[in-house]
Amino acid sequence: MVSKETFNGSVEYVQVMDENGNVDQSLFPQDLKDEQIVEMLKWMILTRALDAKTLSLQRQGRVYTYAPLVGEEATQVGTALAMRKQDMFVPGYRQHGVYLVRGASLEAHFMGWRGFEEGLKVPKEVGGLPVSVPVGTQILHAVGLAFAQKYKKQDSVVLGYTGDGGTSEGDFYESLNFAGVWKVPVVAVVENNEWAISVPRSHQTAAQTLAQKAIAAGIKGVQVDGNDVIGVYKVTKDAIESAKNGMPVMIESMTYRMSMHTTADDPTKYRDPKEVEYWKARDPIDRVRKYLTAKNLWNADIEAKLAEENSKRINEAVEKAEAFKGDPKSMFENAYSFVPETLQEELDDAEANNFWQ
């Protein structure tokens, strides 16, 4: 008879900058310059401004159902800035900040959330796939995309995003498992914002951490303070390096959904406002602002000027997006690599009879 321990795993939690803007020098990435931290702050501020604008347009009926990201800026901006130009990403439906940092246009953002597929034509240089709504299913695409990179001997790593709820889907477990078996250059980013609509993280799984799900798949799992942009940046840089070298990583970025799930949701039905207050004191933007202000690299004037620039850029994008009316014909022309005869007949019929008017 034999009885012995055959496995023993653990999960590391990383925080570089705390909620007051104090940094742990031993963890601080040595190559990270002050200007880069200023850039991080600027991206987070733009991301939040874009989010607020989209929400207000939704309230005026100028955008359809929208998933706000406020509170999750550090996770999105931090992971996106850690990517190299040639890296790629596969988002869910809340990662507006990732698109922004990667160079997608503000106009495309508004076109997509105004319900036009034309907003989902992500330019190649952005390196991202379109928004994905079926929760937790798209990380499999990230794994396949990573396989293709490896196969074609491209030096590029793929980041796949999902939420805490997404980690309950079978597809999510399958993706980690494939990543481990194939040893492909992939990083799964779990944007753990504590809620999946009305279901809290604690009801989603009995596991103590989400990161430990990686361990069962034989890949690396790590937790990071998802409101600490420097911590997120550092952990993602390390993960990209690891994935490149054949060890995929799952990052559990611990943040908080400050707003409603989507504009169709009413969080007062299920969550205690005190919880929101707790997280407000851990705001991802405030702490960087404090840090840079103390270093004389930030002040109210800079911020006011930036706000003005941002709102000008955003308003111009809204104007352009609203000028786009869309042609229903495009539905028929894009389903296949060709237009089948029977479909052409449906199109001709619709046009001849003016069904669209």
């Binding site: 359809y64 159902t65 439906y93 997509g112 105004r114 319900g115 036009f116 597929e117 989902l120 928004v131 709504v133 079926p134 929760v135 937790g136 299913t137 709820g165 997404g166 309950s168 889907e169 079978g170 597809d171 999946a196 609509i197 009305s198 279901v199 009801h203 989603q204 799984t205 989507t262 169709a264 949701d265 039905k269 299920y270 869309g326 229903p328 495009s330 539905m331 028929f332 389903a335 029977t342 479909l343 449906e346 199109l347 619709a350 009879n353 003016n354 069904f355 669209w356 008017q357």
Partner: protein, 317 residues
């Protein structure tokens, strides 16, 4: 219709303690459409469960519960996500009874919102009735009004079969209708003739029922309107009777045209009543394409104009 469904669940749970509800956000939140509002407070977390976010899990565990003597009524938040549980439905729920010669049965009702017209996000507006009807072994029901919704759901909750209960989101709040407070059932597998006439037969269900009604009223047509209510099994008799009487048939559904339920109905009429027809059978459906993002939605769903033109064409033959 929201309230009628809530009421049907409530009455069914009161009558049968083996009924349990599970699904994403159905408890405290009362479901994203509020269909299950108040039920967790009334029946407790043991009978109204917020499940982890996993559709295959929801349907798969429901199958086990059903075999174990319960009568689960799982909710899938939107029909698009039921596809993550497709294997459980087709490979297991549809087959248990048949392959065990009745030794194992799966009494459950899978509720899910379907169809478009509410400017929702991608994957929230599909009309998938035919995906589940094609296989055999699954009953597929789709009410078009509050009265039918309550009676059909209460019936489904007593049957020893897996029933898919498709709830058109557009109709959740579209119109009010007096619904009796007490329990009642409506037979599954029976269509309802909601208007009577002599010149043509319009066969429809779900979101298209009010569209068809409006066209018939505006054009002052003498038409039979048949609301199928159950897609599988099909009430062939109701269809044939009407087809033979009027000699002209139009089938209208929101699901895309190609390989839709309209094709099945049309084939049955052609096989069994062809020589009593005065004109070719016609169909109206959405384009044979995936459901678009909301910006193109109104160009996609069949509207009154499209239905009216099909009627004109049918009547001109």
């Amino acid at each position: 219709m929201l309230n009628a469904i809530n009421n049907a669940l409530d009455l069914s749970m009161k009558a049968d303690e083996n009924i349990v509800l599970l699904g994403e956000d159905i408890g405290k939140d009362g479901g994203v459409f509020r269909v299950t509002d108040g039920l967790q407070a009334k029946y407790g977390e043991n009978r109204v469960m917020d499940s982890p976010l996993a559709e295959s899990g929801i349907i798969g565990t429901s199958i086990g519960m059903a075999i174990g003597g319960l009568h689960p009524i799982p909710e899938i938040q939107f029909a698009g996500f039921m596809l993550l549980g497709f294997s459980q439905l087709l490979n297991h729920a549809a087959r248990y009874r048949e392959r065990s010669r009745g030794a194992f049965t799966v009494p459950m009702v899978v509720r899910t919102p379907v169809s478009g017209g509410i400017r929702a996000l991608e994957h929230h507006s599909d009309s998938p009735e035919i995906l589940y009807s094609h296989i055999g072994g699954l009953i597929v029901v789709e009410p078009s009004n509050p009265y039918d919704a309550k009676g059909l759901l209460m019936m489904a909750a007593t049957m020893n079969d897996p029933v898919l209960f498709l709830e058109p989101t557009k109709l959740y709040r579209l119109f009010k209708q007096e619904v009796p407070e007490d329990a009642y059932t409506i037979p599954i597998g029976k269509a309802n003739r909601i208007a009577e006439g002599n010149d043509l037969s319009i066969i429809t269900w779900g979101t298209m029922v009010p569209v068809v009604r409006n066209v018939v009223d505006k054009k002052k047509l003498s038409a039979d309107i048949i609301d199928m209510r159950t897609i599988n099994p099909l009430d062939e008799q109701a269809v044939l009777e009407s087809a033979k009487k009027t000699g002209r048939v139009l089938i209208v559904h929101e699901a895309s045209l190609s390989f839709g339920a309209g094709a099945e109905i049309s084939a049955r009429i052609a096989e069994k009543a062809m020589f009593e027809l005065k004109a070719p059978i016609m169909r109206v459906g959405s384009p044979s394409l995936p459901y678009p993002l909301p910006g193109y939605e109104t160009a996609y769903i069949p509207n009154e104009k499209k239905v009216a033109q099909a009627i004109d064409k049918l009547m001109s033959v």
